[in-house]
Amino acid sequence: MTLPPALSIRGLSKSFGPARIITDVTLDIAPGERHAIIGPNGAGKSTLFNLISGLYFPTAGSVALNGENISGLPPHQINRMGLSRSFQVSNIFTNMTVRENVRCGVLNTMGLGYSFWSNIGANKTAHAKTFEILERCGLSDKANVPASLLPYADQRSLEIAITIAGDPDVILLDEPTAGMSQSETARAVDLIAKATEGKTLLIVEHDMGVIFNLADRISVLVYGEILATGTPQEIRGNAEVREAYLGDEALPEELA
């Protein structure tokens, strides 16, 4: 028997009133696959993420995580089942330190639930886990900085740190390198590659260099519909995709 897909999206649609944002999206992502979603602005990439992660309710269709139907479940339950996501705009706990931010992300996997009888400061495992994540994301020397005072690139790293803190199987990253400089982007790609090792990754990204480096397969989303899905080679060779989205100059020279 083969493993069910890590993420299986079937006929997913979402309308806001008369506006159809996502139309009949069907997509299977195998365990361990790194899958990128590309598409022009307003194609519905973030909406797709919101549908998968439970923030929005689908108008039609379903999403299954490791073979279990998750559409219609609230976000925190989906998260507990092993799917975690980041946000396009940094979505962190602003009045807490970096360390506390990550520690909040760790709580659930520690099995601490809504506990009000244990002292979190005395929990050595939670400390160790928190610093393991901070170390991996290059944030351990900024552990006690208030999150709101972090420079932009570090806020993006913290965004990823919170996302991976709960040890999810499936990770959704929404434009993790948006607004970063080239060197910052290179570091972020490094971080993402390391942090998602052995995990299933679904990533929305505008930077083609990042995607062609990172992704096993790519889906092109245009006007809420999947235009094509394939390996980076196939996508690059797809005339329809070139016309709709990529344009010749969008491809990095060394890859074209």
Binding site: S53, G54, L55, P74, P75, H76, N79, R80, S84, R85, F87, N91, I92, F93, T94, N95, M96, R99, E100, R103, C104, G105, L107, N108, L112, G113, Y114, S115, F116, W117, S118, N119, I120, G121, H127, A128, K129, T130, F131, E132, E135, S140, D141, A143, N144, I162, T163, A165, G166
Partner: protein, 422 residues
């Protein structure tokens, strides 16, 4: 697991010595002060005042579990105080009757039951109201407060009608050899439960739920994506806040031996909000400052002036507008400034600012006191330090105008000095 074992994070987390100095020591000092106070031989009036302070400290801090730590603005916190207090009053009477299991229950432990009653009220009322935060939550809390307050005047069997329920605390078994008769013995009861309340609420901030409460305040959406339901976090925090308010209610029941339905009305709820806010909601200890100052104002200033509520209002508005981090923010800001790079310049600015505020305050006081007496029409003149300041005396108005102007100028100057330093 190897990285977890070898990575040394001890430099990045507070050491045990730091934890003791920053967390345990202040609580020990607080307890030591409470133990030392009776040694000064306080008067009856002082005892009465301090008991009310102790009750208000626990109450204002329980309120801040919602406003400061969970970002929930409630206009009805007196409801949970009231339920805790009423339940304690009833049990006090059952103890006096000696009926059934209650005959052996010590009055000293009534705050435990008050906590239970407040938490239960929180669990019932919080179930619908904690689904939303923000304006919706605030409006529901207001509605619930009105509902319960009017209900308290209708259901006389539990609430005792307008004269409320009264009882006698000197029944049942004693604890620590306290009869709870004389006021100096009640002091130990109040001091004990104030410390338990403060310590308990501090411990709560250190638990996972306490941390999640802050996370939910900062960003409820993200809380969902770390596997927690923000509604459930709010609801659980709400139950605890209700519990500690109920604990304060039972302290009040034992202290005054009476509870009336007025305890549920919007007035007390508003006063709790003002205590917490004036004290400083961003600090854990902020409400302690607010509770002490406002209890003092409430009890003492009414002896000095008819206009004390007006001064309270001015204080509240000034804090909201000019010192949103409250008294605690002012105190800790002063300490931080003195330890900063330019303590001398900071101190001069600070004193200029203080002088400006004091002058404006003098202008305000003279204006208010003259106006109150004028309006009352008893022909009595405001005469501070034997200096008669009648409304017909141009000197009075000159004093108002000059001190207000001079105070305003000084404050402005202080603000400019601060800008130059920054």
């Amino acid at each position: 697991m190897s990285t977890q074992d070898t990575f040394d994070y001890s430099a990045h987390v507070p050491s045990n010595a730091e934890k003791f100095r920053q967390r345990t020591l202040p609580l020990l000092i607080f307890a030591a002060i409470l133990v030392a106070i009776p040694l000064t031989g306080p008067s009856r009036t002082m005892y009465t005042l301090m008991h009310q302070m102790g009750i208000n400290i626990v109450l204002a801090m329980s309120y801040n579990m919602l406003l400061g730590r969970a970002g929930l603005l409630s206009f009805g916190h007196a409801v949970y105080f009231g339920f805790g207090g009423y339940f304690a009053m009833h049990v006090m009477n059952w103890i006096a009757d000696g009926s059934g299991i209650w005959g052996g229950f010590p009055v000293f432990l009534l705050p435990v039951l008050g906590f239970g009653a407040g938490a239960l009220a929180g669990a019932v009322i919080g179930w619908p109201s904690c689904r939303r935060a923000g304006t919706t939550f605030a409006m529901i809390s207001l509605g619930v407060a009105e509902l319960v307050a009017s209900g308290a005047f209708m259901f006389d069997g539990f609430f005792g009608g307008e004269q409320g329920i009264s009882g006698d605390r000197m029944n049942g078994p004693q604890m620590f050899g306290l009869t709870l008769g004389p006021i100096s013995q009640v002091y130990w009861f109040i001091a004990f439960w104030t410390i338990v309340g403060v310590a308990g609420m501090y411990a709560f901030t250190r638990t996972p739920l306490g941390k999640l409460s802050e996370a939910t305040r900062d960003n409820p959406q993200r809380v969902q994506f770390i596997g927690y339901n923000p509604q459930r976090v709010r609801y659980m925090v709400f139950i605890f806040a209700g519990g500690f308010a109920g604990l304060a209610g039972a302290m009040s029941a034992v202290n005054y031996e009476i509870f009336t339905p007025d305890a549920f009305s919007l007035g007390p709820s508003g006063f709790i909000l003002i205590m917490a806010y004036v004290g400083g909601i961003t600090y854990f200890v902020g409400p302690i400052f607010g509770a002490i100052l406002l209890t003092y104002m409430q009890s003492m200033m009414s002896d000095f002036t008819d206009a004390w509520l007006l001064y309270l209002g001015v204080l509240f508005i000034s804090i909201v507008m000019f010192a949103p981090r409250g008294l605690a923010g002012i105190v800790f800001g002063f300490g931080a400034g003195l330890r900063g790079p330019r303590p001398r310049a900071f101190l001069i600015t600070w004193l200029t600012h203080l002088a400006g505020i004091a002058l404006m305050l003098i202008g305000l006081i003279v204006l208010v006191e003259i106006a109150v007496r004028w309006s009352n029409g008893y022909g009595e003149a405001f005469a501070p330090f034997g200096l008669p300041l009648a409304q017909s005396n141009p000197l009075s108005w000159l004093l108002v105008l000059l001190s207000a102007l001079a105070g305003g100028a000084l404050t402005r100057r202080a603000a400019r000095m601060r800008e130059a330093q920054a």
